[in-house]
């Protein structure tokens, strides 16, 4: 029963959604709409599950004093601080009836003063690592690497004045070699061809995995109960 009922639900929902896609009329259109709403409700519960899991992992790490446990402590304190600030509406003008994100609230203060600059800082660090990596790894060691290098070089030059002045003087018949034109071509022809190939491959993979799930061939999502 533990396996049969989830497999039956998966089969019925999967088939119903496929039918709803090709027959967008009653009762399948209503079915599709309701399934979307169910999905959204389940997605909300995923937050509780995610939060619970995060706490479980980090509390265990602190208890065992595992590697870098102090960072886990910061995570737990941060989690409860932001959750408390939002749920209890600390500092919100107008009290319980006010917006938890209103100016003056602790939640807004934490978001603007800690979360925003920290996230921006983490992302900004990429610039340094990209520069360092491009210096050490972007080398014309093989023919393929050289093609990649030249393409990256042109794309990087595109927004710069150097990219414009290097090639703007080219005569009309050779204007396709002008860096901005060349970079547009790279993005809209070879890049698009590659992206399309990847997308078609992914789509075929999704179709085959979905069929395996619907037909009950793929059972790993059932956990250990799905074995056998």
């Amino acid at each position: 029963m533990k396996r049969s009922i989830p497999l039956l639900i998966t089969f019925l929902v999967g088939v119903a959604l496929i039918v709803a896609m090709f027959i967008p009329h009653w009762p399948f259109d209503v079915l599709n709409q309701n399934f979307s709403v169910f999905y959204d409700i389940i997605a909300v519960f995923a937050f509780i599950l995610g939060g619970g899991n995060l706490l479980k992992v980090h509390i265990r790490k602190v208890q065992r004093k595992g590697g870098d446990w102090k960072y886990s402590l910061v995570t737990i304190i941060g989690f409860f601080l932001v959750l408390g600030a939002g749920l209890l509406k600390i500092g919100v003008p107008g009290g319980w009836s006010g917006d938890y994100q209103a100016t003056g609230s602790l939640f807004k203060y934490l978001y603007d003063s800690a979360f925003q600059p920290l996230q921006a800082t983490m992302f900004s660090l990429l610039a340094f690592f990209v520069a360092s990596a491009s210096y050490r790894a972007f080398r014309a060691k093989t023919r393929e690497a050289t093609i990649l290098l030249v393409a990256a070089f042109i794309i990087l030059l595109r927004p710069t004045p150097l990219g414009y002045y290097l090639t703007f003087w080219l005569p009309e018949p050779l204007q396709f070699l002008h860096v901005p034109n060349l970079s547009t071509w790279i993005l809209s022809v070879p890049n698009m061809a590659g992206q399309r190939a990847i997308m078609i491959g992914i789509a075929l993979g999704i179709v085959s995995t979905s069929l395996r799930l619907i037909l009950g061939i793929e059972r790993s999502y059932l956990g250990s109960e799905g074995k056998g």
């Binding site: 917006d99 925003q116 340094f128 290098l149 990256a152 070089f153 710069t160």
Partner: protein, 292 residues
């Protein structure tokens, strides 16, 4: 470092350049243009102009859905896009509906309301010209649900007010009632999901903007499934340039993307320089190895 440099040739020393030197040069390449206010104006490319013209050609009063599917980490790239779209839509007299597929999105849209709409368009009325609907969980499932019934998913605005009380919500039943969707994103779910789950099945015009890293992934959708899109900060700067040409008052106003393009341009040049040096030292080393 000192040991490695002993007795080595100049290109070997250059090849083993301490990465702290690279970090320092990148930091300077970003800081100096910011200090000296180095800005650069980039003419709008076809892909950006197509989107600009689509927004421009909509009749005044059109309903524009703007989705904020990003957070503070990519705000320097995405927020100028939101600003440019909002300025353009409100100049044209369109009605804008702000929503988010990301939990961090509403703070970005609130920032837009506080810093752009309330400051530059004080005559625009909340609930009549713009509305902040906030975030809902569900990713692409939410888009799918909105496509069949918008009002059952969004029953109130961000502040908890019933949406039926807002005049601009009249006539909104599904996503198909919007004239255009402008999806600003930096990952999943984002612009791509708006094309796949709203634009294609609902036959709704979709445009938007993504971070530069994500932009190449959207090219397969242009021009048939997407009107156009802004690729990174450069795309935002191009849209600002188009807006400046159409509405000259923006020549003297803050153009965040054009301002921050200065540091990006110099950083790109520094990276190009490093790639050149890296390859030069590599070729010299290879030549030396072949010689001996």
């Amino acid at each position: 470092m000192a040991e490695a440099n002993t007795g080595s040739t100049w290109f070997e020393r250059l090849g083993a350049l301490d990465r702290r030197v690279i970090f320092l040069l990148i930091a300077l390449a970003v800081i100096i243009p910011l200090v000296v206010h180095y800005t650069t104006t980039i003419p709008a490319s076809r892909i950006v102009l197509d989107l600009y013209e689509a927004v421009e050609n909509l009749p005044s009063g059109s309903k524009v859905l703007i989705s904020f599917d990003y957070g503070p980490s990519t705000a320097p790239e995405n927020q100028p896009m939101a600003t440019a779209f909002t300025r353009h839509c409100l100049e044209k007299g369109h009605k804008i509906y702000l929503i988010a597929l990301w939990a961090t999105g509403p703070r970005q849209s609130q920032q837009l309301i506080d810093e752009v709409i309330k400051v530059e368009f004080p005559d625009k009325v909340y609930g009549e010209d713009y509305i902040h609907l906030g975030y809902k969980a569900g990713n692409q499932g939410l888009i799918n649900a909105l496509l069949s019934d918008f009002n059952s998913m969004y029953t109130s605005d961000l502040a908890g007010e019933d949406i039926e009380g807002f005049p601009m919500m009249e006539g909104i039943g599904t996503l198909k009632d919007f004239d255009i969707i402008l999806a600003i994103g930096s990952g999943f779910p984002g612009t791509k999901e708006w094309v796949q789950f709203a634009g294609d099945p609902g036959d709704i015009p979709v445009g938007g903007g993504t971070t530069a890293v994500m932009a190449p992934l959207l090219y397969p959708y242009y021009p048939k499934q997407m009107l156009g899109f802004l690729g990174g900060l450069q795309g935002a700067a191009e849209y600002e340039a188009a807006l400046m040409n159409g509405y000259p008052k923006y020549r003297t106003m803050t153009r965040r993307a054009s301002t921050t393009m200065g540091p990006q341009v110099t950083a790109h040049l520094v990276i190009v320089g490093f790639i050149l040096i890296g390859n030069l030292t590599y070729l010299m080393e290879r030549r030396k190895k072949r010689k001996y």
